[in-house]
Symmetry: C2
Subunit: 249 residues, 2 copies
């Protein structure tokens, strides 16, 4: 029953996210995607377009988790420095990659293949390309780092390209249980259940149900039997509270 656990991290690169000008849409997407694949997302960082900051974060995250996915900073302009930072982190040279140049030639006539666009064909030595079915300029995969675009539509297509090659672990299973009562009414008995079911993660998420405070309880485990037992314990607890008159606010 000891299935390998595959972990991942995300590094979002871009001043525009930190200034608030652009609202990130990639973290949530990748998180959900990896969870569905059976990969545990364990950490996310957002850093500015500063090479030293990117390299430091790359090194911290790639050494700690099975995979590191980056988004942003692989376009044609001077502020796109992700590929250089990745080359620096891995200590490898970076130059125009013939495979990437060939892809760019499929899209752009010679006259349009200026210095700026050719920047997008600069790939660290030893990397595999990650195809970009949207706009050709590829992402890449080096070591355990998968480098993707920041534009959500392109990032999503690149993730689809990379996914079949990812190692995946035993899938995390989950059950969501609508409580129909306030979080504060559940917390004490729920903590007891959490203590009694150490191999299961139990999350409690308050939300507003048409203006009334309500709670979703989420039970997670890789072991279906452990999950079922904890789910039953939670449902029994909720039924007992209801029988004692606890209900919606």
């Amino acid at each position: 029953m000891t299935a390998a656990i595959v972990t991942a991290s995300i590094l979002v690169i871009g001043d525009e996210i930190l200034s608030g000008r652009t609202k990130d849409k990639n973290i949530g997407y990748i998180a959900e995607y990896l969870t569905a694949l059976g990969i545990d997302l364990r950490e996310v960082r957002v850093v500015p377009d500063i090479e030293d900051e990117i390299v430091a974060a790359l090194d911290a995250l790639r050494r700690r988790y099975t995979y590191l996915f980056t988004t942003g900073g692989i376009g044609p302009t001077h502020d796109d420095i992700t590929a250089d930072a990745v080359a620096k982190a891995f200590g490898v040279p970076i130059d125009h990659d013939p495979r990437a140049v060939a892809l760019m030639r499929e899209r752009f006539p010679n006259a349009d293949l200026n210095e700026a666009r050719m920047r997008m064909a600069r790939i660290p030595q030893g990397a595999d390309l990650v195809a970009n079915p949207v706009s050709k300029a590829p992402g890449f995969w080096i070591g355990n780092v998968i480098v993707m675009a920041g534009v959500p539509q392109i990032m999503q297509a690149m993730l689809d390209e990379a996914a079949p090659r990812l190692k995946t672990g035993r899938k995390m299973l989950s059950a969501s249980i609508p409580a129909g009562m306030r979080e504060g009414d559940i917390g004490t008995p729920l903590a007891e259940i959490a203590r009694a079911h150490k191999d299961v993660m139990i999350g409690s998420y308050p939300f507003s149900n048409e203006g009334r405070p309500d709670t979703n309880l989420v039970v997670r485990s890789r072991d279906p039997q452990a999950l079922a037992q904890a789910k039953t314990a939670v449902e029994t607890m909720l039924a007992t509270l209801r029988a004692n008159g606890v209900g919606p606010a």
Copy 2:
């Protein structure tokens, strides 16, 4: 003209963000809010509900930036462990705080003030409270760390409460220039402008303009004169490209 630069970081705490079950709405909001105040957001991390991970991230970020804002993990259930992690990071005791208990009593009758709800009155020693006008259970402020709820509506109210006490730096000014052309057509001359205007940050953000690739250029600086000069240089560059027949795709 050497104005103090005030920096900040955000630590998002919660398994539900990393699993993708909940999509974070706080990072973008806080980013925009701090930028408007003249505070530079420099880094964001997202970590799970694991005490050692939270403490390590708290320590890394609070030592590096003027402020650290945390979201999540201060509710009434067993998975809400942010307050304990903050106490541990600062090496101070944590217990029910009479001020926080008094606030809770304003909202809840005695019968409802169970062990779970009383968890929300546990505050690290030496912290100031951050009022919660939405649902009473307060956030807190200790050292340079401001601890807020994860529910966006409550987080936003707490940020409003904390804001008047924040040091702010000289505001970052910015000008957005719609290019009306593809990023790859701009990259080369834009890089020259960036090299010639070192005191200005120039960002290039591609977007789809009713299906046609287009670009927004954003010039940022704390110095209005430097900003104006770089903006003029960008506008002149775009006019020259247009005169040479470069336009929308």
